[in-house]
Amino acid sequence: MSSAESQTNESLADVAAAQQHAQESGMADREIKQAFENFAEANPEYYSRTFLKIQQDKLSALHLNLSAMIGGFVWAALRGNWMMFWIGFILDMMAAANLGLFYRYTVAKAAAIEAEKAFLVERFSSWTIKHLIAAVVIFIIGRLIIGWMADRSYYKQYSAWRINSAVNSGVSKKRWIIAGLIVTLVAPLTLYRSTQDAPDQRACIKQVRAVQDGKQVSFKDRFDCATISEVPTLTWLKRPDKLQFVRNDDGTRTEQWTPSTAKRPVNVNTWLSEKIDQSIDRAKAHYGHVFDGITKVLRTLLNAIEAVFVGTPWPVTAGIFLLISYHFAGPKITVFTATTLVYLGYFGFWQTAMSTVSIVIASTIICIVVGLPLGVWVGKSRHGSAIVTPILDVMQTIPSFVYLLPAVAFFSIGKPPGILATVIFAMPPMVRLTALGIKQVPESTKEAALAFGASPRQLLTRVELPLATPSIMAGVNQVVMMSLSMAVIAAIIGAGGLGFIVVDALGQSQVGRGMLAGIAIALIAMVIDRIVQRANRSEQ
């Protein structure tokens, strides 16, 4: 075959292929439309037309689905598009609630006119207008949103239906019933709440007392307290007896119960709080020496550290800080450190700042001493991991403020409980990152060490700990940062330091004073973070 011949043949083949392609695509068009119509069931022409436009990118930016706009969440329920249903329903409920508020303040306004209270009339008429406007605006915007989103969201539903035929398609009356149930559950009570002045918790407690005393209470008041106020209290308990611990001559304590004089029962919350207080008191009465011992150890440690930081004259301490910073983090960070030190000194924060730093260092030391072995245990032992990990998980979800409670409960207020709360708060990253580092040591490396005759101790000290060092140092960095933040919060329970200035300033609304102390804390945090991070990096 000559080359010319082959060329013509090829071009003929091209044309034929193109024709066939066109035919096929025509067929595909029909198939696609058919699929659209099968999906939509009701009003198939409209949806097939719209979906085709969406696929061809020809849908106008202002395209609205009129039936969805008018029908709102009812349309969405019929089509089985539950996301649209909830959007439409919630927006409509917001509009209706505003309408309810409009009604409520119209009634209130009428009452105010009756009572001739001009300022109330003025306030209520301004509120009525605001709520009426809100109701109309929210309703219109809501419907526009539904109308605009309807076809676009419905097309997504179609795509999902193509993949999984169990996705809602077509129209179904059954979904109307489900939607109707949802609406009857939600709407009446919500609207009722918007038209009523809800009674507060105290009013409801009074009502319960009145019922207990056998007085008549109207059904409406009872209904209001049961539904649109605080969740009603179901259990009433007898107030616990009073418990005291009388000191004997030999130093032991005897428990002494005094019957409660309270006439009325209390709710579960009050009852349990008193019981918890009693058990803490009992622990303190019988094991006071243990808590005193811990306090003493903490105070000794802190005193030793404070002797260095607070007791050393400031020029010496500042010089040492600069040297440390220069050695570990280089000249740039040292300039920053110097700036911070000048700030602390110039604004008179030096002693206070050193006190905070002392608490941070004491906490960090305790965290490392306790956290490192714990982390090794967690990293190496399945039991360790099973026991400690859940505790750490809980510890890390508890907000830092809450840690102050047990510290105060057992150790009263002051610096030792402050350190204790700080240690508990800052410990988890030390344990976690140590364990992570130990676990990350490759099995093959450990195997090699064993193959050359390493004992378990040698494996830990020569292989696992060195390889885990970067992770452990990251842990130390975290501990320092978290200790600083907690040491500031611990000022609430009397840990002193810069945090105390902030707390005190808050109490007296002296924003300026608090802000200066806050900046001092931030600067210290940044300096410590930079130095520790650089030190880690240069070590690697």
């Binding site: 060490a449 064993l450 193959a451 005759g453 004992s455 020569r462 060195p466 060092t469």
Partner: protein
């Protein structure tokens, strides 16, 4: 260093009926397998246990390079870890220099590992925080050898594996091939009698792999260490091995010299492996030749056989080809000047093809 010589010397490693079954019910599974001869899949289904090594016995002789060849999952790496008891066998015993490894207490075991067995790993497994020299001296350090002696010994091994000048570098600064030299040096540092090599060259690219193979063969000739060499590459096994054991599903299918394996595969599995292997250096004249009597009967022997090119019975096919290309005559195979057989061109071609 040939099979005949090593067969007579005393075995350094004796593996005796070793089984390894992974799983909580290993002992039960073992009893059931021995009784009912269950397959791997049946054991997994009935006992949720995986058979790693199944009824393996072999001896490794002094100065021998014993290759264990098998595909991934065949249990070869598991097997080699039994020798220094990184893995405990479910059943069976391993003797190293006549001592049962299973009987050792923890301290004796550590001594065995530190003094008598060196191991090289596929992924090098060097300690990234130590210099090359400190890595090499690791086994010595674990035995509390003093720093001075340690450094002396390490530097000696650094010379052996041609890593001069790299002692103070970190492993991460070295290429893969160099790192594996460090791995080898580390295994040699304590001068052990046994080397366990778990796919040492598999992770390297082909050229470097070949270079290291040659170097290791040279070293091995000089040092004469008894070596257990694991590989998944039959070419490598044939290049390196004095003897080869082929493993499949935890069982040793065949043990033999490279020539045995290539010329007389034990079953279809081995035959399949051997198919692609070049026979030129592995098959020898005595295998492909027609014995002189047989040749004479067929009337091929002519008087001018004195002028035929001649070769020794131990000459490989490669050298026979070199002789055959220069002449139209058959090749006479002579031992001590006596004609023992003849290799015709037909027989030579068949021999290369492997249909002999």
């Amino acid at each position: 260093m040939n099979s005949k010589a090593s067969a007579t010397s005393k075995p350094v490693i004796q593996v005796q009926d070793v089984w390894k079954i992974f799983g909580d019910r290993a002992k039960e599974a073992l009893a059931a397998i021995r009784e009912n001869n269950l397959s791997k899949a049946e054991v997994l289904e009935k006992f949720e246990a995986v058979v790693g090594v199944r009824e393996v016995s072999f001896d490794v002789h002094e100065s021998e390079i014993f290759c264990i060849m098998g595909l991934s999952g065949s249990g070869k790496s598991t097997l080699v870890r039994h020798i220094n008891r990184l893995i405990e066998p479910t059943h069976g015993d391993i003797l190293v220099g006549g001592d049962s490894v299973g009987q050792l207490n923890a301290k004796q075991l550590r001594l065995l590992r530190a003094d008598r067995i060196g191991m090289v790993f596929q992924n090098m497994a060097l300690l990234p925080h130590r210099t090359v020299r400190d890595n090499i001296a690791f086994a010595l350090e674990l035995r509390n050898v003093d720093t001075y002696t340690r450094m002396q010994l390490a530097d000696k091994v650094i010379d052996t594996v041609s890593l001069q000048g790299y002692g103070d570098r970190m492993p991460s600064e070295l290429s893969g091939g160099m790192q594996q030299r460090v791995g080898l040096a580390r295994a040699l540092a304590a001068d052990p009698e046994i080397l366990l090599m778990d796919e040492p060259f598999s992770a390297l690219d082909p050229l470097i792999r070949r270079g290291l193979q040659d170097e290791f063969l040279e070293l091995s000739k000089v040092m004469g260490k008894t070596t257990l060499f694991i590989t998944h590459d039959l070419d490598e096994a044939i290049r390196m091995g004095t003897r080869i054991a082929i493993m499949k599903d935890g069982i040793i299918v065949q043990i033999g010299t490279p020539e045995d394996i290539v010329t007389a595969p034990a079953d279809d599995y081995v035959a399949d492996f051997v198919k692609g292997i070049s026979r030129l250096k592995l098959v020898f004249a005595h295998t492909v030749m027609q014995p002189v009597g047989e040749y004479q009967q067929r009337g091929g022997l002519t008087d001018n056989n004195e002028q035929w090119p001649s070769a020794h019975p131990e000459a490989d096919l490669d050298s026979l080809i070199s002789l055959a290309v220069d002449t139209d005559q058959p090749i006479a195979i002579r031992e001590d000047n006596n004609l023992v057989g003849v290799v015709t061109k037909d027989a030579l071609l068949r021999g290369i093809q492997g249909e002999s």
